[in-house]
Symmetry: C3
């Protein structure tokens, strides 16, 4: 199933952004895994707690944890010189993960009986929540609170997603429309250097 | 219903304190809405998660979200010059919101079978939790941990509330007694400049 | 029951580490109680929220709260001069509390149907979560993210615990083996000055 694969991809990408920040702060391996984990599954965890969808998703399906652990191992071993990657690699991967996370958050909230407005909020929370917790643990003012286009892309993606459903679009069509919206806006923002989300220098 | 109206009023007032802090940190519109939201509904959200009262309150009743959004719009448009308000306006409004939030937290905890001691803690958490999350996101040491009279007012209000109920007072009477206690102590603290909660300069 | 007694002991010890940090930050009595509480019951609270074990444990059994309150009173009154304690007193007490907390987290997660891997994570979360929240509230980068041996001890203790159960060991034997593992590693780390967890100077 494509969405599930993309979900794992997003989990791995978000984990990498946690690994990179942990590396910059010279954290030990445990700190790296923790920061990778909260970035990758923190948003969905708060969403599930608020919805009452407990046990939360990564307790039921441990593939998410394996995706994080393997990513951390690979990242620690292989990516010793992050500057040698093309600069757009991580932002683009992050945009794909973000778009999928938002769509999954919207879907899950609707399945638990949320209104469209709440579903959009849950989508944004799923996409942005992990990064907020990561930044709080690293003692940064959360990046998403200061990089307008990041959260805005999530909100618009969520609105397109829920509006399509209310117009009786097929679930898959609505989901893909939402993902495409979030992704397009993020990619446009990256292309024209409106922001560099996970790699931007922090003050 | 008076309590419900006051609850919305408190939500709006707490949202404003989030908007003001976000403005001082030069956050973008999304950051403003997030900081306003966590301040207004963060405490009640943690309370509901701990009680198992899920989906949490703002998922079931979206009026809270509308109160926050409208407050943000009005605040962004109208309050360009916060210094022109009388200095006591926000602290007094905040005290009213705080007193109501504490009473609502106590009531909800008791309804879910909590003991009086736990109910008082849940009242304090409802009143103070949002401000703590706001300050953590803004990378401040939470104000309530350093402004004694703020939390003390909540604790005493909660104790009066639960004690009145244990003495078989009418629910409405007990609630109003609790609200009056919290409010009186806060207003006294403001009147004699014992603290300036939401507008005090930070270190 | 020994485990329950040790659980209360751990709660009190963790509360003290919150009191000490609050004292260093010159917090008022309310701030002290809050920081003591989140340190002592924060990890277990997140664990219970994620598992859906609500109302969370300290709502059902208020002995935890009493243990914290009494500890705060005693700590505020008696420990005016923390430097006069032998330097190893708090780290050793903290190690005992940590080992018990991990075992309790593992047990509870398994009781709620978690896999062994998730149970280990829940054990680590129970043991380390409170300290992370304490440090976030005090605006520190969480100590456990930078003191490798601390979390490593929890992970190994949890692995021994769950592995013993999978090898059909008696529940009590497995629990004690897990506790012994965590405790031994921590004590070794303290003995050979590999780290000084709750009293270490912070940058």
């Amino acid at each position: 199933m494509l969405i599930y694969f993309l979900d794992m991809f997003g989990t791995a990408v978000f984990a990498i952004s946690g690994v990179l920040l942990a590396g910059r702060l010279r954290m030990d391996p445990f700190g790296i895994v923790v920061l990778a984990s909260v970035t990758a599954i923190g948003g969905g965890t708060i969403r599930d707690m608020a919805l009452g969808a407990t046990p939360v998703f990564w307790i039921t399906d441990t593939n998410y944890l394996w995706a994080i652990f393997i990513t951390c191992l690979v990242a620690i071993v292989a990516i010793r010189k992050p500057r040698q990657m093309p600069w757009y690699f991580l932002p683009v991967a992050d945009a794909i993960g973000l778009a999928v996370f938002v769509a999954i958050g919207v879907e899950k909230a609707l399945r638990f009986g949320a209104t469209p407005m709440v579903a959009v909020i849950m989508g944004v929370m799923t996409g942005c929540g992990g990064g907020v917790i990561r930044d709080v643990l690293a003692r940064e003012i959360p990046m998403v609170l200061r990089t307008e286009v990041y959260a805005t892309a999530c909100i618009l993606g969520g609105i397109v997603h829920t509006t399509a459903l209310q117009l009786n679009a097929d679930v898959n069509v609505a989901t893909l429309a939402g993902i495409a919206t979030t992704l397009t806006i993020r990619l446009a923002a990256i292309r024209w250097h409106l922001s560099l989300p996970t790699l931007a220098p922090r003050n």
